[in-house]
């Protein structure tokens, strides 16, 4: 499956004096190519490419929260920040509203596979709390009305 992104992988390998260092970048690329989660096959392919043991690739992947190891997710992944600043500014209400609007509980994926709703620890956007991240974008200073508008924007 990494055939399609050969050039991107080559560019990544050039960044480091040892192959193993590219494991995080390659896992990120593989997750993106598979539509949001890491498959065993892709991780085994990375192990061969980087001359690592599959268990080492697995250990790296499982260490970081943003990799979704063998857990398929929706087309868009929503992360709702729940750390202190967002909590002080009402992140509990934000999560409740999202759960109602999407008809899922946190950690679940909508039946049309459009959204996966997850919680996140501090995302570093505390001056504009409460906030959430959808895919690579930050959405800040949220309220229920704003959230409804944001969700409508996703086809």
């Amino acid at each position: 499956m990494l055939e399609n992104v050969k050039e991107e992988i080559q560019a990544t390998l050039k960044k480091y004096p040892v192959k193993k260092s590219a494991v995080m970048d390659l896992l990120r690329i593989a997750q993106r190519e598979a539509g949001g989660h890491l498959t065993r096959e892709a991780m085994d392919e990375i192990a061969v490419l980087l001359e690592m043991q599959p268990v080492e690739v697995n250990a790296a992947a499982k260490f970081y929260t943003m990799y979704s190891v063998a857990r398929p997710v929706g087309r868009h992944r929503i992360w709702v920040c729940r750390n202190i600043s967002c909590s002080l500014m009402g992140s509990d209400h934000i999560m409740k509203h999202l759960e109602q609007a999407l008809g899922v509980k946190k950690g679940e994926t909508t039946s049309d596979k459009k959204f996966t709703l997850d919680v996140a620890e501090c995302l570093g956007s505390c001056g504009t709390a409460p906030m959430m991240q959808i895919d690579d974008e930050f959405y800040e200073n949220l309220d229920a009305k704003k959230i409804d508008g944001i969700l409508k924007g996703f086809k």
């Binding site: 960044k15 480091y16 004096p17 040892v18 193993k20 260092s21 590219a22 494991v23 995080m24 970048d25 896992l27 990120r28 980087l50 690592m52 080492e56 250990a59 790296a60 260490f63 970081y64 929260t65 943003m66 990799y67 992360w79 729940r82 750390n83 202190i84 600043s85 909590s87 002080l88 500014m89 996140a120 620890e121 501090c122 995302l123 570093g124 956007s125 505390c126 001056g127 504009t128 709390a129 991240q133 690579d136 974008e137 930050f138």
Partner: protein, 418 residues
Amino acid sequence: MEKILLKNLNNPDAHKIDVYIKGGGYKAFEAALKLQPDNIIQMVKDSGLRGRGGAGFSTGLKWSFIPKDPTIKKYLCCNADEGEPDTFKDRGIMDWDPHLLIEGMLISSYAFGASASYVYIRGEFAFGAKRVQAAINEAYAKRFLGKNILGTGFNHDMYIHCGFGAYICGEETALLESIEGLRAQPRKKPPFPALAGLYGKPTVINNVETLACIPAIIERGPKWFSSIGPEKSPGPKIFGVSGHVKKPGLYELPMGTTLRDLIYNHCGGMLTAKPLKAVIPGGVSAPMFTAKDLDTPLDFDSVAAKGSMLGSGAVIVMDESTCIVKMAHIINRFFSHESCGKCTPCRDGSPWVTNILSRLEHGDGRPGDVELLESLCTNIFGRTFCPLADGAVMALRGAMKNFREEFLYHEKHKRCMV
């Protein structure tokens, strides 16, 4: 005060190299290339600059620990992991002024002889990572990076390494492990990274804000820098204010600005008529203050003298509607989630503490829970490899010291006081 670090905050074009150069950018690097590397290290020492990541160690001194042997490869790693909850200052520089960071990194690398550098950016900062990568590409095109930079014979390559959601990567040796492709668990020190760091080579790890101070120190001189703020903790500092204030956000002010001045003048005061109950002065690991501490100057030594720490300069303001037990629960839940699993007191102790706080918070507290928390703090603090668990304990102890009655109320009455 004239802004040095945040002068381009929200300036829509400042991230482009032509705009940066037009505003005087890369002049400090060009000037630095004409100086002896040792003189630059001396200037940074004389400026009194202390690391803005939280530890407050002398930056010039850190650079001076790197061996002088030119045949040994050396690395600079910029710590842009910005994981301490409620910290969002480095993002302000990476998103809006990435060339300021790159210029600081180049001067630093020239000073101690690093031929390559990595910017370790947390995975959530996709926008910032794109901005910094675009800026690196521009800098290569203008020959500020690459081989024989500006005809001086100095070579330097710069890369981005993206994290993917792990707080521990902000710990400098865990950061190195992460770049090397391993699970990001802290290393034993010594050897310190200055002797055996990335790939076993001498390495300096500096925070984004620290590096962003460097161009101004070269251009304006160490005396100018050391004249700002307190003598032992000088310079401009970015404070990231969040929580119950009218105008949360980033504020660049002299070190030593008081909490009161920051909250009531710069941030416009409390969000509503409710008075201030507690304030965390430096990211969630820092023990919380109350209204009686508002006249504390925000610099490394003054905050430490009051029993807390300046840390990353993330100031979290809480009004009287805030339940401190809930806050303590959120903080400890965070640390127990982020424990890397290496040391037992942290791996097993932090979730234990979090469970107790969770039951207190949700009305299931048991008699003796508060005492049990105190005993757990004693058994965790100072018994781990890195300061992650210490941060969790410091935060909890700070909360229990100032608001013990609230914890006891939760334990006895199974509900919240506020």
